[in-house]
Subunit: 290 residues, 3 copies
Amino acid sequence: MEPQRILIQLDPDRHASVFDAVVAIDSNVQHLLQYSDVEPESVRGLVHGAMFTRGPADLKNTAIFVGGSQVSAGEALFKAVRQSFFGPVRCSVMFDGNGANTTAVAAVLSAAKHLPLSGCRSVVLGGTGPVGGRVAKLMARQGSHVCLVSRDLAKAQSACEQILKQIGSTDQAALQACASSDQNALRVALGEAQVVFACGAAGVQLLNRDQLSACPKLKVVIDLNAVPPEGIEGISVMDKAVQRGERFDYGAVGVGGLKMKIHRAAIGKLFTCNDAVLDAEEIFAIGQSL
Amino acid sequence: MEPQRILIQLDPDRHASVFDAVVAIDSNVQHLLQYSDVEPESVRGLVHGAMFTRGPADLKNTAIFVGGSQVSAGEALFKAVRQSFFGPVRCSVMFDGNGANTTAVAAVLSAAKHLPLSGCRSVVLGGTGPVGGRVAKLMARQGSHVCLVSRDLAKAQSACEQILKQIGSTDQAALQACASSDQNALRVALGEAQVVFACGAAGVQLLNRDQLSACPKLKVVIDLNAVPPEGIEGISVMDKAVQRGERFDYGAVGVGGLKMKIHRAAIGKLFTCNDAVLDAEEIFAIGQSL
Amino acid sequence: MEPQRILIQLDPDRHASVFDAVVAIDSNVQHLLQYSDVEPESVRGLVHGAMFTRGPADLKNTAIFVGGSQVSAGEALFKAVRQSFFGPVRCSVMFDGNGANTTAVAAVLSAAKHLPLSGCRSVVLGGTGPVGGRVAKLMARQGSHVCLVSRDLAKAQSACEQILKQIGSTDQAALQACASSDQNALRVALGEAQVVFACGAAGVQLLNRDQLSACPKLKVVIDLNAVPPEGIEGISVMDKAVQRGERFDYGAVGVGGLKMKIHRAAIGKLFTCNDAVLDAEEIFAIGQSL
């Protein structure tokens, strides 16, 4: 008899995410073990409990999901999980702190429906946040020339360096930093862009209607902010490939359906082998295959 | 495929109630998510996780149960749950802190087996406690003339005012307060009563044998105290419609079977729609329909 | 319809054991309720929640497992569980803090495959630890003459007295204490022994190659230490009845398969009645019947 599919939900928050739990159950997880208030030093014991219970052939039915609302705390848990493995006795693990991975992947794949990403020019507003950084990385990896925008130029530059290193690129032109206060540089970048993503904090407007209308080459606009006012003025949270002139517009809910589909497919993927490590790029590949 | 039935158990206690969990599972809940040490400020995030995962058609398969041993802390959570909803994207919720709702409903429905409640005279001992207050409200709502007894007259009067307001009644005679120390008033009330409920603290005797035998009109006596000594002397915890003269007597265990049946039916009701809000009166209606 | 099999996992650790959880699920538990950070004073309420939800005929489908990594804290919980029951309304309970019971049982049953335990001479190194104490007790109960070795003679003597009392024996010769620093006494005991168990702390060598080779009568050597260096030099953690001369050698992993099988069988046993209390000796009987 095939062993039951067990998902171990590791969450840094005081109460493990209901959202992550419901999606897990809707992804055919049979037993969900919820752990809240998890700190990196507790991870090893929990992971070893997953590794040393089932035989090698059955280990693919035990998997780990790291989520919760705090992205960097979750990343520390995800790292601790990976460091707890040694040798082939391991189990699959996915990271999706605050939905950052699945949201970024859904945003980039939404854009990809309307133009080839390779060679396109894109602007990522809020590029130093957890979703923005992932969107910039995925876009750069796909061959887009990305302008990563942040209030803080130094942080934007540091984010760009880190991403270039992660994707193993030495092409500085592939990813350029821009301060949102540098109106001139921003205008130039937006004027050239075919795609713009708004990945800022909830309820913060990053682009107004005038700025948006001054972007003649835009093919896709994606605003991931779900809390009024809009991150990009004029883009509704419900927009899902709404055509306005040459542009296709997406709001947070418009991207949400695909995000959920990707999330569920990624959970499903965990149970197909015992060594999947699903971070942004692996989840992107899953999203592409849908 | 119909989504799995998920119940989110919100509990203010250090350890979420095993009792509530077992009853949930016996009510055909497929996945139980237990949350302990829940405070009102954590509720919104948990409820939004329930609201924003499944589509509208599937939301009736996600529900929330607020329980635990601390009734007023649970009431605060129940309120926070209701305040977390906005618009039609919501899910069903039930409150049964310390079993107060299901116990009160089972007690009142037990009485209703033996006489019409409308127009009857009833005495609720321990009427300012969580079960007593609910019994008094349900009885008043059914048209009984209720005497609500407490050690503290001011608290009894305040409870009566609150209940009259809740049921939208201006008939002061429908619900009268009485101090348990006022032997004369209590004797008069008991002398007229067809039903008496003992809803006091565990292990506290509220009525002795002499007082009980001086109540000529009693048709039903219900003692909800399960810890010796009896809340009403001479009523056994196991009594279940035991006939003594003109009276039918019930103890806590005697009411317990119906209470459990009502609890399970109420949990089942949660999964029939996505907007049920089950407090004392809604649970009473469910109990009536069994 | 048969009620669902519910296991209530009580764990003194900050995070309830993943190991215990996965084994429970693999033992056909249908709903696992995990409780972490459990202290003895919380046990009564949790156990009563298990006792007072299902009718007598169904209580065998609710059971309690006390585990976690801290053996003595777990023993306190196990005691508190047993004290929470009164009368026939109860449910089955198993103790396996840090796997001490199932490990000790698997070690003793591994030895029993190669010689009759009754009348044999055995040495238990690390005999005052949780596994060592259980091995010594099980061996003595089976009629072996046991030498219980510890760094601390007083602790070893006290452990022997306690075990003799527990098994109701007045035969002091059945169980003798030895300080590991007393080279002479240890050499004599090992020289006579047919079985030696190493039950010390992880990563501590208790016997070197020279000492081992000076034991002419050994039939079985069992080293339960899984962390390098070996508890007994020359015994590999993977050894499973590896024959070396007249000896059959076992390492921790070599015993582990049987341990897991016993663990699962014991969980299964919990759900066959509502009054099983599974500690070392009851689990030994289950292991014997496999």
